[in-house]
């Protein structure tokens, strides 16, 4: 379930596109009804309005000819036509040998992600709003059990769930990994070009990230201990 659904490449990209499309629809396109829908004000009126919306209504309204062209409509058009952004970079912690750089990269502050999106956009001449950098991590079953264990009953007695389940036992270690991913509106002419470009993207973006990691101002955050990491 985790690897096939929650961490599936297409699911991660489409989720990121939906979020970016809606955010830009509010911040950049200034669509009033979208802002009202996503600005919870605690009123009953808000709740009543919110309950009248579902995925289908949102998509139809954004794609409607009355909705002005802009980022929100553009992202949802891409989704409807399945012209998804492509994953042009996926980096693991082990890709960054220097522990200080690794730490900074995977703390993934908003400032850092924004700066990375801008640098990638500049380097490859993309619209910076169409470049999405995000950390991807999922807790393993073991991690989700916190201090205690999830216990399952077995004919031979009680056993921890993560040891009993063949599926979770095998993927537990793998899904503990986290990644930093970058999605962008790239098109490939063929498989050969795709392979070559992906290799280039990977090595070049690693260098961009390491360069950014040296700029301490990109990583400053005012987060206090316990500040919802």
């Amino acid at each position: 379930m985790t690897t096939q659904v929650y961490r599936h490449r297409v699911r991660l990209i489409t989720d990121a596109m939906i979020v970016r499309g809606i955010s830009l629809g509010i911040e950049s396109d200034k669509i009033d009804w979208l802002k009202d829908l996503y600005s919870y004000d605690g009123s009953e009126q808000y709740i009543f309005n919110y309950l009248t919306w579902d995925d289908e209504r949102l998509t139809t309204r954004l794609l409607d000819r009355d909705t002005p062209d802009g980022y929100a409509k553009g992202f949802f058009k891409r989704l409807a036509e399945r012209r998804l952004l492509k994953r042009i970079f996926s980096g693991r912690p082990t890709d960054f040998k220097d522990p200080e750089i690794r730490k900074r990269v995977f703390e993934a502050s908003d400032t850092f992600l924004k700066a990375l999106e801008e640098q990638v956009a500049n380097k490859y001449s993309f619209d910076k709003n169409l470049v999405i950098a995000q950390p991807v991590s999922l807790k393993s079953v073991r991690a989700q059990t916190s201090e205690g264990e999830i216990i399952v009953l077995h004919p031979d007695g009680a056993r921890p769930f993560h040891e009993e389940s063949a599926l979770f036992r095998s993927i537990d270690e793998a899904i503990r990994e986290q990644y930093l991913e970058v999605y962008a509106p790239v098109e490939y002419a063929d498989e050969k070009q795709k392979k070559r470009k992906r290799r280039e993207f990977h090595s070049e973006i690693i260098l961009l990230i390491e360069g950014l990691a040296g700029e301490s101002n990109v990583f400053q955050s005012g987060e206090s201990a316990g500040g919802g990491e």
Binding site: P93, T94, P99, E100, R102, K103, F106, E107, S137, K139, S140, A143, S146, E147, G148, E149, I151, G157, A158, R159, P160, R176, E177, Q178, S221, E223, S224, A225, G226, G227, G228, E229
Partner: protein, 184 residues
């Protein structure tokens, strides 16, 4: 200071390793109380538990800064499972990060070190007593009023925590030594 930095400095201040998941959570709880650091502890199976600390430990393991070692004791617990302990040790990379954090966050690190020293001086209880002390103090903080031992034990039941009188008596003395409670 973010939570991952706090966990690295906590393990470093404890000598580079902490034995047991519960000990890590409960030491973090008392250090946060004694150092006035705001961490999001809530009632859990073994007393106050911080999901942020838990997430930070997972993050640090994933980044290769902390190693989680499972120690099996070969004995069977009440649930029919082998009794195990999860120990947390700073890796070489983790020690490098700790070294630079100690320089950059001198004041916070000093507070963590002092808090751990106070815990040690107050008796350095084992995981079980530390857990009971954390539960008792959590209840007293939640209720924000003086409470008799019997009241604390009754209140503990509402969190599904079992605390017996003799353990509570010992942990009250620990809390007194830390200056967190007064007996009257």
């Amino acid at each position: 200071m973010n939570t991952t930095d706090f966990v690295i400095l906590l393990v470093e201040a404890a000598g580079g390793s902490i034995q047991g998941r519960t000990v890590l959570q409960k030491r973090a709880f008392f250090v946060s109380v004694l150092s006035d650091l705001k961490l999001d502890f809530r009632a859990h199976y073994y007393g106050p538990f911080s999901p942020s600390i838990d997430a930070a430990v997972s993050q640090l393991k994933s980044l290769g800064f902390i190693d989680e070692r499972t120690i099996g004791f070969g004995s069977i617990g009440t649930l029919g499972l082998e009794v195990k302990r999860y120990d947390y040790v700073l890796t070489d990379d983790g020690q490098k990060i700790a070294g630079s954090l100690k320089k950059r966050k001198k004041e916070e690190y000093g507070k963590i070190v002092n808090s751990l020293k106070r815990i040690e001086k107050a008796g350095n209880p084992n995981y079980s007593e530390l857990s009971i002390a954390a539960k008792a103090f959590f209840i007293l903080t939640q209720k924000a009023k003086p409470m008799a031992r019997t009241e604390i034990m009754r209140e503990a039941q509402s969190f599904d925590w079992r605390i017996d009188d003799s353990s509570l008596q010992r942990t009250v003395s620990f809390l007194e030594k830390l200056g967190l409670v007064n007996k009257s």
